[in-house]
């Protein structure tokens, strides 16, 4: 069980580490309709 606990904790930390990257992306535009058909 300790192994599973360790792996889940690792996965949680991996997601937390992604947080700073989110705000390096640009805010999406709200307008600008693109219609294909």
């Amino acid at each position: 069980m300790l192994v599973y606990n360790d792996v889940f904790r690792f996965l949680a930390l991996t997601f937390v580490a992604m947080l700073p990257l989110l705000f390096l992306m640009r805010k999406p535009k709200k307008g600008g309709a693109v219609m294909a058909h």
């Binding site: 192994v3 360790d6 904790r9 690792f10 996965l11 949680a12 997601f15 992306m25």
Partner: protein, 426 residues
């Protein structure tokens, strides 16, 4: 390759070919008289089905204006997130009540309906066919070599003890040659099969990397949970499937709401909420012991289900936002490919961590927990009247033994107990 194939042969034609091929191969999988035939038709099914995700995503992203894309992606992502969670339950029920063949036959009416709908409602945009020019055979070859070697390496790595095996080292070298060569080739080719120029857009480059990590964590945890439930807690396949249902249900209920919010709230804030919620749920599960009841999983699995809803839709929207429409097919192909590679790496890494961490914990426990250690002996006596020896003879599965011990001891003491079971009963 989907982006290149769509621009070469036409998106509608490729989509029809993919749906028809997938449906026909599914039918023949159901009819398969032997394992080799089943594998052959599964390969055809996979080859035809591979293009469905990027094609459908590209069509949706181009068909809706920017402010409606969030809602469109929410409905699209419902299938991507919920299906892998409901699939095992539905598949288990069909296999138990009818036959495994019905797991394949069920695709046929849905596929036929998809063919009619594609024929009636999908049209190629005029700019798409203008691109079809030469065929980059070197690019195709290097892509197949690189991705094929990488997938086999990740699949067989743990089994062959990774880089101590010549086979794995060879595959790693081939993957580096294939993928490295592909990047160089595609940057120089006149008509590349993959337009790496989309990585010039910062949001796309970062979003694709984040999606790779999402694939890593999502599939890593999806592999881990049934193993935990069936191997350690002694659940049946159906019980484990039902216990995992809240995750899929939460995504199912949450995604339309997220689709609505994506046009109103900064998508990056929704993403941050999704990442935090999922990380919190993983941390919550990481504190479980073997005494956990199946009802204790419901809330911690509902939270990441909702969290994945908060991740998939806004991430797709933010990542694809700067991509020009003529590059959308290419961008969605790479985006989906990277999620699948992330998933393969996640599954391989979780399996490796399981084996290596098990060994580490056994070594630590073996070092400290032995009959000569008075603290260990005292803890063992505190476990009460339960006889591990009796449990082992009556219920030979170690998962059952550990689950039974879990009723008596807390998680840390339990681990000591399990080790002591082996030490004292020698």
């Amino acid at each position: 390759m989907t982006g290149w194939l769509a621009s070469t042969f036409g998106r509608k034609r490729l989509l029809m070919l993919s749906v028809t091929g997938f449906t026909t191969a599914s039918f023949f999988c159901g009819l398969a008289p032997s394992l080799p035939f089943l594998i052959l038709f599964r390969i055809i099914q996979g080859a035809c089905g591979g293009g469905l995700q990027p094609l459908s995503q590209a069509i949706l992203l181009e068909s809706f204006p920017a402010e409606k894309r969030g809602q469109a992606m929410a409905f699209w992502a419902l299938g991507i997130v919920v299906a892998p969670m409901l699939g095992p339950v539905a598949g288990g029920w069909l296999t138990d009540n009818y036959s495994w063949r019905w797991v394949f036959y069920i695709n046929v009416p849905i596929g036929v309906l998809a063919m009619f709908l594609t024929q009636a409602f999908i049209f190629d945009p005029p700019y798409l066919r203008k691109e079809s020019k030469g065929i980059d055979y070197w690019g195709i070859g290097l892509l197949l070599l690189g991705i094929g070697s990488l997938q086999i390496m990740l699949d067989k790595g743990q089994e062959d003890d990774w880089f101590s095996s010549h086979f794995i080292v060879t595959l790693a070298v081939l993957a580096i040659i294939g993928l490295g060569g592909l990047i160089i080739r595609e940057l120089k080719a006149e008509h590349p099969i993959i337009h790496l120029s989309v990585f010039r857009y910062r949001s796309y480059a970062i979003g694709t990397f984040i999606m790779t990590v999402v694939g890593f964590v999502l599939y890593g945890s999806t592999v881990l949970l049934p193993l935990l439930m069936q191997e350690l807690l002694g659940y049946t396949a159906t019980h484990a499937g039902v216990t995992n249902l809240p995750r899929g249900m939460a995504s199912f209920l949450f995604m339309p709401l997220v689709g609505y919010l994506t046009g109103k709230v900064d998508a990056r804030k929704l993403l941050a909420a999704g990442f935090l919620a999922t990380a919190f749920a993983m941390y919550w599960i990481s504190n479980f012991s073997l005494g956990v009841a199946s009802s204790n999983f419901w809330l911690p699995l509902t939270v990441p289900g909702a969290g994945l809803g908060l991740i998939f839709v806004p991430l797709t929207t933010v990542t694809k936002d700067p991509i020009p429409r003529e590059r959308m097919g290419n961008a969605t192909s790479i985006f989906n490919l990277m999620r699948n590679i992330g998933a393969s790496v996640g599954i391989a890494m979780v399996e490796t961590m399981q084996v290596r961490k098990s060994q580490l914990h056994i070594n630590i426990l073996g070092e400290h927990v032995n009959p000569a250690n008075p603290l260990a002996r005292q803890t063992w006596m505190g476990c009460g009247a339960f006889s591990c020896h009796k449990a082992r003879t009556q219920q030979p599965r170690p998962g059952r033994l550990m689950a039974r011990c879990g009723e008596w001891c807390s998680s840390r003491r339990l681990c000591s107990s399990i080790t002591m079971c082996s030490v004292f009963s020698r």
